[in-house]
């Protein structure tokens, strides 16, 4: 039998209604069935919301626009907050959320870019997003597209993977300043990096900002800080996974 895949969700022209930050828990509930979510499920939620709401120049009608910003979710595990933000911003109809993880749904427990409108990469295996983001940034530069910025979200424990350090060292050494890494730090690494998660970025010459990952103004300020000639890392600290 030839394998079949679920049809990719059609990109809606606009959100089915206007959603705000306050709607995100309810959107997540459509996937999880829980009314409330612990810190682990929402570790990325505030950082993602501020990024999509105020920083990224992306929208459902710009999905094929070469000049759009690129957001790559590298930490693909626990994507409910990501799907909720994509739904709130009109990339996904909210009606798809209850099917989360089911056979006919485009929404898996790790996102697949060929199925999820607005997802720039498929992820799940850790340590792939940052190298892909470096390549995307180099590719946009090679095409002469000076506008679009590239953002990649990684987890603190994801930085265990050596492939990230290949990318961090290279991007720092070459001053790849359109590249931005958002590290969600919920202290989940089994063996914490000496000096904290910002240390390898700083050592490689990146611009680094560390902020409270629940403070929207602090996140916005960190996201928009100028960093000429250097890639930029924002460490968003949230509640420890194993408190």
């Amino acid at each position: 039998m030839t394998p079949t895949t679920p049809a990719a969700a059609p990109p809606p022209a606009a959100p089915d209604r206007a959603y705000g930050y306050a709607d995100l828990p309810a959107l997540m509930s459509l996937m999880t069935g829980d009314e409330k979510h612990g810190p682990a499920a929402t570790s990325t939620l505030d950082a993602l919301w501020v990024l999509y709401d105020r920083v990224l120049r992306v929208s459902p009608d710009r999905a094929g626009d070469p000049g759009r910003d690129r957001f790559l979710l590298s930490k693909g595990h626990g994507p409910m907050a990501y799907y909720a933000v994509l739904a709130a911003k009109g990339f996904l109809p909210a009606g798809l959320l209850p099917g989360f993880g089911s056979y006919g749904s485009p929404l898996g427990h790790h996102p697949d870019r060929t199925l999820v409108p607005g997802a720039e990469i498929g992820s799940g295996s850790l340590g792939h997003g940052l190298p892909l983001a470096v390549g995307t940034a180099l590719g946009l530069r090679a095409r002469g597209l000076s506008g679009p910025r590239v953002w990649v979200l990684v987890g603190d424990a994801e930085l265990d993977e050596g492939s990230n350090h290949e990318a961090i060292a290279f991007a720092g050494a070459t001053g790849l300043d359109r590249l931005h890494t958002l590290v969600i730090d919920n202290s989940s690494a089994s063996h914490a990096l000496p000096g904290g998660v910002a240390a390898p970025f700083a050592a490689a010459g990146w611009s680094v900002a560390a902020v409270d990952g629940r403070d929207h103004e602090a996140l916005y300020d960190a996201y928009t800080r100028p960093h000429p000639g250097r890639p930029h890392a924002v460490v968003a600290r949230v509640e420890p996974k194993h408190a």
Partner: protein
């Protein structure tokens, strides 16, 4: 005559001038050949240093940004070490690129097993949609590289080697060439890339058809079926410059509805802990003309065929 790798550098450097979609990514190997191209196209000739996971990840990212990435290093560092990147950063992302390896199975025998990748084609066989070219001559390498660069968003592997045939064949980038035709029903020898002339020498004077495969994936099943048509039991010998038996399953699929026997010749699975020369390794793996002839005539009884 230049080597395949030199031809790769010269042809790709020229095409970088002509095709704005092409971008080369290196990992400290082969940078000399691209020095001038890097000066002309600093944004499209990138050396990431000794970082092979990044090499492949950057290739996937370039493809996501709309470019046609060309990645090059020694075969073990291109396919084996970053294999999950090859699987996910190209296949799972649904993007394409061209992976160009050097070194093959034992181009540098004195370098030892760390620089050998006899399993590269077999590994790619676990993935979907990879075209695999194995040129047998620098001129063929040029044709196949040009074909690969122009192949839209296909995923293509080009396996360059220091081992070559004395002269090129008119390869096109797809399908097998019939270079020697036996009588109807004669055994078919499928010779891959640089082993063609050894295979031809091995069957000198024997009633065998010889197909030349400079492109092994997709496997040209129609050509094989046509070559063995009329045999009561089709007999197929694979002569491959990488792991023995790599294409045995492809032969079985091609001849699923036809009685057949298949002999898969190639490099041995056991690690040959020897240095020395390419010629010594070819012989140690039984891929020199005399060894091939012994193994092929032990597999199929040409005497009976001639008498019958």
């Amino acid at each position: 005559m230049d080597t395949m790798r030199e031809r790769f550098a010269s042809v790709t450097s020229r095409l970088l001038d002509e095709d704005p979609r092409l971008a080369v990514v290196l990992a400290d190997i082969g940078t000399d050949g691209f020095r001038r191209a890097a000066e002309r196209h600093p944004d499209r000739v990138v050396n990431v240093g000794i970082r092979e996971q990044l090499l492949v990840g950057v290739g996937g990212g370039l493809a996501l940004a709309g470019l046609r990435p060309v990645l090059h290093t020694f075969a073990p560092f291109l396919i084996e070490r970053p294999f999950e990147q090859v699987k996910l950063d190209f296949g799972h992302q649904g993007v394409g690129g061209v992976l160009v390896s050097a070194g093959g199975s034992y181009d540098w025998p004195a370098g030892g097993f760390t620089h050998m990748a006899p399993g590269d084609v077999a590994l790619l066989d676990t993935l979907d949609g990879w075209t695999v070219h194995v040129p047998g001559h620098p001129d063929e390498a040029e044709t196949l590289l040009r074909h690969a660069y122009a192949a839209g968003d296909d995923r293509v592997y080009v396996r360059l080697s220091a081992q070559t045939n004395a002269r090129p064949r008119p390869v096109t980038g797809g399908g097998f060439l019939t270079v020697r035709r036996g009588r109807p029903g004669a055994p078919a020898v499928v010779a891959v890339g640089p082993l063609l002339e050894n295979a031809l020498a091995a069957v000198e004077g024997l009633d065998a058809t010889v197909l030349y495969a400079a492109t092994v994936r997709p496997f040209d099943a129609p050509a094989l079926r046509a070559a063995v048509a009329g045999a009561p039991v089709a007999e197929v010998v694979l002569v491959e410059p990488y792991l023995a038996g790599t294409s045995t399953a492809a032969v079985a699929d091609a001849l699923a509805d036809v009685p057949h026997r298949v002999l898969g010749l190639g490099t041995a699975r056991a690690e040959l802990r020897r240095y020395g020369t390419v010629g010594e390794h070819v012989a140690a793996h039984g891929l020199d003309p005399r060894s091939l002839r012994e193994r092929i005539t032990a597999f199929t009884d040409f005497t009976a065929r001639a008498a019958g």
